[in-house]
């Protein structure tokens, strides 16, 4: 055990790890928001509620069907993604020709509905969800104790983020997607079914949120409020990073998580607000965001 800046290494690295974990959720969620915004021109206010939904689906699968974490990691995003597709077909598709703000208001309404239903049945107390057997316990690294599950969350979310980046920026499917973001009419003229692409994009973005929810379930308790407060922080992350760049969303997400973790060590009073303060500073210095293009 040793000290850095008068802080025991255990505390410092512990908070740094927690910061990285929060950062992986920020990254996954802001990535989903950016992908959805790129295609649909809608800010998905229901993203937090869908993250919560992902955690609850994993909880239900384990509780009522005995389906374990690893399968939930696959099933829950698909299930929640399908509900996203239904929402897009039923509601969102009528809004594309209207002002962006209506999309925000509509998805806000959907978030209220989802949250209200779950609060009604599950109150505000959290439900525990055990980490899978394989990832119980941890490693003693000498300078800190590393719980296996937390290491897994950081690594896996990094893999998911980078895969998403690769698919969008480096594959043919991704190039269709980017082209449709730039000029949907022209892409349609080439015979590509853009409306279906939009629907699937929304489903995918929502699925990412649900995936983050499943990963969060063993760390935080599963509760109806878990998404509501997180989504506001993610909005700040998106304002800081700008939604123009996929890699930007990933880097900003992880970076801000780490900064938040360090703040918890050095100036705990500000740990709730530090991201918002950074947002204010970024707005003063670089109004378009760190990775944003000036509109």
């Amino acid at each position: 055990m040793f000290e850095i800046f008068g802080i025991p290494s255990q505390a410092l690295f512990g908070q740094l790890l927690l910061g990285l974990i929060n950062g992986s959720f920020y990254a996954l969620l802001s990535l989903g928001l950016a992908v959805i915004f790129g295609m649909l021109n809608i800010i998905n206010f229901a993203h937090g509620a869908q993250y919560m939904l992902g955690a609850f689906v994993a909880f239900f699968l384990l509780q009522y069907l005995g389906i374990n974490y690893w399968l939930a990691l696959v099933i829950s995003p698909i299930v929640v993604g399908l509900t996203g597709i239904v929402i897009e077909r039923l509601f969102l598709q009528w809004l594309y020709k209207l002002d962006h703000l209506y999309g925000l208001l509509l998805t806000f309404g959907i978030a209220l509905i989802i949250e209200g239903v779950f609060r009604n049945y599950f109150g505000s107390s959290g439900l525990p969800y055990r980490a899978p057997e394989l990832l119980q316990g941890g490693q003693n690294l000498g300078f800190m104790f590393l719980p296996n599950y937390r290491a897994w969350v950081v690594v896996f979310s990094l893999v998911v983020c980078l895969t998403t980046w690769f698919v969008i920026e480096r594959t043919k499917l991704g190039s269709y997607l980017r082209a449709a973001t730039e000029n949907p009419t022209l892409v349609r003229a080439f015979g590509i079914n853009v409306p279906r692409m939009i629907t699937l994009t929304y489903g995918f973005g929502v699925g990412l949120a649900a995936l983050a929810g499943v990963m969060a379930a063993p760390i935080y308790n599963v509760s109806p409020q878990m998404g509501a407060n997180l989504i506001i922080v993610v909005f700040a992350v998106v304002v800081i990073g700008g939604m123009g760049s996929i890699m930007g969303a990933i880097v900003t997400g992880f970076g801000l998580g780490v900064i938040e973790g360090l703040t918890k060590v050095f100036f705990p009073e500000a740990s709730n607000t530090v991201i918002f303060i950074i947002m204010a500073i970024v707005l003063l210095i670089r109004p378009a965001g760190l990775f944003g293009r000036r509109a």
């Binding site: 209506y102 209200g116 700040a236 009073e269 947002m279 109004p287």
Partner: protein
């Protein structure tokens, strides 16, 4: 990407101020006779929210800016006003090597001064948040205002004078101008009516002034307004501060009426609620926010028994408004009758 504008209730109708005058007269008569058959506390709550929604509508309805953080001004004005009315003494932290407190000793203030103090603080917050938020447009504007409001929510949780989860309770209503005791419900009610009508008329005046015309020009086409030589950022900031100020009046008054300032009023669901009221009543209509506020407050009164389902009902109204009637109640009526309201 072609996107049509927000749908406003009566955007392009010619001036027909007669319909507005009649509606105003009906409203005043209603407010005078209402306490005879409706519970005054309910009416005062609805009026505070009506002014709140009118102030919010000034921004979304006439400049086209959606603020998702108006609870910030509402809640903080109510804290400041409650504190001034109950304690008075102001302690400000400052930094000289270590944190020190600058203490301004004040006696508990009379209600009009407490409301004024809360309002001024809201205006100050509006200046800061507004100058940050107008640096980005559209969707980002909404996210920034929401994030800033959430930041100040955390301050409200941590600051010593707000009383955390308890809030500031048992705020004395005091004597208006040192003369009229507001402990009397009817005196309190008519004070709130006067404050509401004054705020309503001032907002009406702002909307129909040359300044208001420039705001509408910015809403319709900001680039065009810029090319006509208007410094649109200044107009937007001024509108933002005005909106925050009137919101502050509403919040500060509410603290005196209910003798309470609490975290509920600074938290983000409150920001959502005022959006709902304005949307239901009709964006960009003069009377819409008032009708919307009465509608939502009445609804909540009847729905308190069903607990968390309130959220579901509110969410459903949001969805229905956005998909089916974007003009809102007053907007649809005005559209059907071809008048301005």
């Amino acid at each position: 990407m072609a996107t049509a504008e927000l749908t406003f209730g009566a955007a392009s109708k010619p001036a027909q101020s007669r319909s507005e005058l009649i509606a105003f007269a009906v409203m005043v008569v209603f407010l005078i006779v209402a306490p005879a058959f409706l519970y005054p506390v309910f009416l005062m709550k609805a009026l505070c929210f009506a002014l709140f929604a009118c102030a919010f509508n000034l921004l979304i309805g006439y400049v086209g800016l959606l603020s998702f953080g108006h609870a910030l001004y509402f809640g903080w004005a109510s804290y400041v006003s409650a504190h001034l009315a109950k304690v008075g003494t102001i302690s400000l932290p400052y930094w000289v090597g270590s944190w020190k407190w600058l203490v301004i000793p004040l006696p508990p203030l009379s209600p009009e001064l407490a409301i004024l103090g809360g309002t001024l603080f809201a205006a100050f917050l509006g200046l800061i948040a507004g100058s940050l938020a107008i640096r980005r447009q559209g969707i980002y504007f909404a996210m920034i205002t929401l994030a800033l409001a959430q930041m100040m929510y955390f301050f409200a949780v941590q600051a010593p004078f707000t009383g955390g989860e308890d809030g500031i309770q048992a705020v004395p209503r005091g004597n208006l101008f040192g003369l009229i005791s507001l402990a009397d419900p009817i005196a309190m009610y008519f004070t709130v009516v006067v404050i509401f009508l004054a705020g309503f008329l001032m907002i009406y005046r702002i909307i129909h002034s040359p300044f208001g015309e420039v705001l509408k020009a910015i809403r319709e086409n900001e680039q065009r307004a810029i090319s006509l030589g208007y410094k649109t950022d200044r107009y937007k900031l001024a509108a933002f501060i005005l909106s925050a100020t009137f919101t502050g009046v509403a919040g500060a008054t509410k603290a005196i009426v209910f003798q309470l300032a609490s975290l509920t009023d600074v938290d983000w669901p409150m920001s959502g609620e005022v959006v709902l009221m304005t949307l239901v009543g009709g964006l960009g209509t003069v009377f819409g926010p008032v009708i919307g506020a009465f509608f939502v407050i009445t609804l909540e009164n009847y729905l308190t028994k069903i607990g968390q389902w309130v959220l579901v009902v509110q969410g459903t109204i949001f969805v229905a408004c956005v998909l089916l009637f974007r003009r809102g109640i007053v907007g649809e009526i005005a559209h059907a009758l071809r008048i301005r309201l």
